[in-house]
Structures are given as C-alpha cells and as structure tokens.
C-alpha cells in the first residue's frame, strides 16, 4: 500500500513545506485517478441511478420519459406472459450448468495440474475454446447442431446408433442439453484454470502429512483437497451462477427462445420488453431492477455462507 512518500530532503524541511507537499501529492493522485473516476461516475453510477428512475417511470423507446407511474412497471413485469416460465427455466439452466461445469472443471484441473509436455498440450487444448466469444461459439454450434450441415447425425446413423436423425434443438429438453454442452465446452477451461490456481495454493506439506498418516487417495481428496479448495470453488460457483442467470447470447443465437418459447431466459425477457415489439423501456428497467436485486441477494447469501463456515 502506498502512503505518502516522504523523501529524506522533504522530511528535514519545515512542517509547512511537508503539508503542502502532501497536498500536492494528493492533488496529483486525484489527477491520475480522475479518468477512472469520470468513467465510473458517467458509465456506472449514472446508469445505476437511471435504471432505478426508469423502473418507476412511463418510459417508451421512442416516446421517452412521460413521468412517474410507479408501481405499474413492476406489476406489468410480474404479470408478463413469460415471466414465471422464464424464471423457472433460467434457474433450471443455472443449476444444471453449474453442477456439470464445476464438476468437470474440477476433474480436469486434477487431471492436468502437474506439468509435463503432454499435460501442457492437454491444458492448451481445453483452454482454446475460452478464447472464443460466446456468440462465436454459439454460431459454431448452431451449424454443428443443424440438420443440414451438422456432422453428428450422419456419423451416428452410419454407426447404427440411431436410425432417425436426432433433433438437437427441436424439443425443449434437447435444446436445453445442447446449450449446456456448448457452455461446458466453452467455459470448462476457464474454470479449470481458476481451480488449478487454487490447487497450486495448497502446500505440498499437507499432502505429505496426510500420506504419512496413511490417508488413501479418496480420503486425501475429500478431507484435504476439497476443504482447502473451498475459496476457489466458492469463487467459481459465484461466477458460474451469476453468468448462467444472465444467459443471453447462447439462447438468442441457438434457439431464439424456442421451441414454443420454452427456452426464454430473464435477460431475453428484458431485451424483448425494450426492443423486440413492446418498446417499453420502463418495463425493461423494472425487470433489470428485479434481476439486480435477486443477484445481489444470491451473492450476499453465498458470501455469508462462505464466511460462516470459515470462522
């Protein structure tokens, strides 16, 4: 941490000069921090305030602000046709994704944590999809899953595994699992890397002690690795839950909310309230505030749970 730096010459100088020097340093500090301050205020604090104001106002996409109408936007949000199905679907998607993704990421992290040439190659192969954008990855799987150009059905058919082509995005269940596979493919490396950092933070001495005490592999894993990895696992869980609750790109590109509106997520609801047809920014802002409050609550509970068990 940087406190005021006082060079030897300044320390010897009279107090008044030192005070003015401290003031000068403070002014300089503000000058260097001012771009950060301007950006944070204009593009973060103002929007947060504005979303609150919009959520209680009659605010059309083209008509603009027509004054306070609280609590109409919130009543409309809870009454919106797809509101509850979207919440149920988003929660279901979040649970499925988080469980599979973190389980796999932990297995991968344990598999490749030691460093040798083969494992480094493996690590790179698993990490490469993380460099892709979620939208690019979704477009890629859109083609991969398509009945016309996808390679998977022809293979399965020639192997005799299936007789009829599988429709990857055709039913509600298959669309969910196809999307989960895409997300696992795209993010497994990311979470693997986070967990590897956690694993490397565990001292070798602890494992040595466990070995001397005669602990087996499974015991070492459940009694030592897992508890000591808790902070990293908690971070991954928070990131994964937040990311999944805000899912948008993958469903927007792969399913457009279909089939039969079974894969609409909350953020898609916000988008369509504001732009696709309804043009109601007030309603979209109210939905945003609901999501914001829910996420803050969920993260708070997670942080609490974490700290409670640690102490």
């Amino acid at each position: 941490m940087a406190t005021t730096t006082i060079t030897p010459s300044a320390a010897a100088a009279p107090r008044r000069r030192r005070v003015s020097r401290v003031r000068r340093r403070a002014a300089l500090g503000w000058a260097y921090a001012s771009p950060t301050g301007v950006f944070v205020v204009v593009f973060f604090i103002l929007p947060v305030v504005l979303v609150g104001q919009m959520s209680v106002s009659d605010w059309g996409l083209f008509a603009g602000n027509k004054g306070i109408n609280a609590p109409d936007n919130f009543t409309a949000a809870f009454a919106a046709a797809h509101f509850w199905p979207a919440i149920v679907f988003t929660l279901k998607y979040t649970v499925v994704t988080t469980v599979i993704l973190l389980g796999l990421a932990l297995a991968l992290a344990l598999l490749v944590q030691e460093s040798n040439r083969w494992k480094n190659l493996l690590r790179t192969a698993i990490l490469v999809p993380s460099a892709l954008g979620l939208a690019s990855a979704s477009l890629l799987f859109y083609a991969l899953y398509s009945p016309q150009s996808g390679p998977i059905n022809p293979w399965l058919q020639s192997l005799g595994v299936v007789t009829e082509p599988i429709s990857f995005l055709g039913t509600a269940t298959s669309a969910l699992w196809s999307t989960v596979f895409l997300i696992v493919w795209r993010f497994a490396g990311f979470y693997m890397l986070l967990l590897m950092v956690g694993l490397q933070g565990i001292s070798g001495d602890v494992y040595e002690a466990a070995r001397i005490d005669g602990a087996g592999r499974w015991q070492t894993f459940t009694r030592i690795t897992l508890p000591l990895l808790r902070p990293s696992l908690a971070l991954c869980t928070i990131l994964c839950i937040t990311g999944s609750l805000l899912a948008f790109d993958q469903f927007f590109i792969l399913t457009k909310g279909g089939p039969d509106n079974t894969t609409i997520t909350i953020v898609q609801l916000i988008y369509s309230a504001a732009f696709a047809g309804r043009n109601n920014l007030g309603l979209a802002a109210a939905l945003s505030v609901i999501v914001l409050a829910a996420l803050l609550l969920i993260n708070l509970v997670q942080f609490r749970g974490l700290r409670g068990k640690d102490s």
Binding site: A2, T3, T5, T7, A26, G29, A31, Y32, A33, T36, F39, V40, F43, F44, P47, V48, L50, V51, M54, E114, W118, L122, A125, I126, L127, S130, A131, L132, G133, A135, S136, L139, L140, F141, Y142, A143, L144, S146, Q148, S149, L193, L194, V197, Q200, G204, R211, T220, L235, D249, F252, V267, I270, Y271, F275, L281, A285, S288, L292, L295, N299
Partner: protein, 295 residues
C-alpha cells in the same frame, strides 16, 4: 498472491513408488490414460477444426456446392456492406476499448498504488463494484444515457461502455502490478528532478509491461467478441461489429440458412482470438494467477 510454481507435485514420493512398482506393466496402465486424455483433447478441439474444414468443403445450399474452395468466404465478403466493413467496425471497437482501458487503468493503477488522496478507497471499491452489477441490466439505462450524450449508435460510445466493464479487472491488475515495483526505482528519478508523469512513462511503464499486456489481451478478447452490448446500443446495420453481422446473416433468406457462410464467419471471428491466445497464453494465465478475478 504467492509466486506460483509451474509444477506442483503434491505426493512426489508416492507416485514415484507407484511407478517403480508397476513399471513392467506401465505401458498397459498408461494406455487407457492416453486414450482418455487424448479423447478429451479431441472433444475440445473438434468443433473448431470441423468449422474450419467445413467452411471450405463442398456443401449443398451454399456458395461452395462442388469441390473444395473459398466460395463461402466470397458469400461472406459480399454480404450487405461486405465483411471488410464489419471487420473494420470490430477493429475500431476493439482498438478503442484496448486503448481506453490501458490508458485509464495505467493512470488509475498508478494513482491507487503510489498516491494517497481523499476518497481513494471509496473510488477503488466502487470500481470493483462494477463486477457485482450484472452487465445486461445496465444496458437499458446506458442506451438512454448514450442518447443524451449524443453517442447513440456510435462506435466510440460502445467502446466507452465496454471499457467500463473492463475497469474492475484492469484497475486491480494495474494496481498490483505497480505495487510489485520497488519504490526506489522511481524515487531516484523523482529526486533527480523528474516529474511524476515522466517517471511513470520512462521508468514505470516498462516495469509494468506484463500487466499491461494481460489487461490489453482481456480487453481485446472481450471487445472483439461482445454480442449483447452492440445488439442493444448499435441500431445502424452498417455499424455493427462482426459477431452481430454473422448472426444477422443467417436470417437473410427466409427459412434457408447458409451454413457455409456461417462457418466461414465463425472462422474469421475465431482466428484472431485463437492466434492471440496461443501467442499470449502466458499472459492470459497470469490474469488468473493475479487474483484479480477474486476482486
């Protein structure tokens, strides 16, 4: 964060013992391992390789119906304003975001690491709080705000928004980068009559270069790949970045999707990211090691 060892061998003796014991059967024991892990590597690489191969292979319903070639890339190149225009938009957005992020986090990181001023901790905490507020929920008010600032539908406005979302990671990363540099390095320059700004440019920038590369790489990948921010903030179809253009391209002909052109688009989108990632993998991994993601 403590310095990371590239290798951790939690139980060196056990594994060595085990290896010595099973050594005659080692190939037998190791083969399933290589099959399993090799299969894993193939699963992760297959979609990328498939997209690249399929984009140049013959396919019905595309511009590359017979024989191998770059017909799908021709479709892509001639789509509406032409792929070059969309790549141009993406490049403008990405480079502005990288420049803004680097400039702001360099100065901000310097201020947070080396100066003390009233409101310092508050500003730092608020910057990190950007992480707590979900991206998508801020885009609706940002749409209204950019209109008021006269930045509606502009690439500069979009770059500012993307920069803001990079600030928590970038500021944290640059702060710890500056804090890792010994103070004596710049103090001698300051005593020699050098101003704080020239000390920053001449002495500290070279010292924090690895941090800058990591911040720049993350900013580039985020800006090049972002989808929902331009979807909401850019309405003029000639100004959209590449991901949006490729996604829109699918809906041009009612009911019929040109998968060949989509695959070509995915390749153009993915190639710069994959190349940058492979070249700068070390710096990418450092972003995780720094603990900045734990902020």
């Amino acid at each position: 964060m403590t310095a990371m060892q590239p290798t951790t061998t939690p139980k060196p003796t056990t594994s060595e013992d085990a290896r010595r014991r099973v050594s005659p059967f080692r190939p037998l024991v190791r083969t399933p391992y290589y099959v399993l892990t090799g299969g894993l590597a193939i699963i992760f690489l297959f979609p990328l390789v498939w997209a690249a191969v399929a984009s140049v292979s013959p396919q019905g319903g595309t511009n590359q119906a017979n024989g191998w070639g770059f017909g799908n890339y021709v479709t892509l190149a001639n789509y509406q304003s032409g792929v070059v225009a969309y790549i141009g938009n993406s490049l403008i957005i990405s480079s502005l975001t990288v420049v803004f992020t680097l400039a702001i986090s360099l100065l901000g990181g310097y201020a947070f690491a080396r100066f003390s001023f009233p409101g310092k901790n508050l500003l730092f905490m608020v910057t990190l709080a950007i992480l707590m507020v979900p991206y998508a929920t801020l885009l609706i008010p940002l749409y209204v705000l950019l209109n008021k600032l006269g930045l509606q539908g502009s690439l500069v406005g979009l770059a500012c928004v993307l920069t803001m979302f990079q600030l928590p990671f970038a500021t944290f990363m640059m702060r710890i980068s500056f804090e890792a540099v010994p103070k004596e390095l710049e103090e001698s320059a300051l005593v020699d009559g050098c101003g704080t700004f020239s000390a920053l440019v001449r002495i500290l920038v070279p010292a924090v270069k690895p941090g800058l590369i990591t911040v720049g790489l993350f900013a580039f990948l985020a800006a090049w790949n972002d989808f929902i921010a331009p979807l909401i903030l850019i309405s003029d179809s000639t100004k959209v970045p590449l991901p949006l253009a490729v996604a829109n391209m699918r809906q041009q002909v009612m009911g019929i999707v040109d998968y060949g052109a989509t695959q070509a688009g995915v390749v153009v989108l993915a190639l710069p990211c994959v190349i940058l990632f492979l070249l700068l993998q070390r710096h990418y991994v450092r972003g995780f090691m720094s603990g900045a993601l734990k902020g």
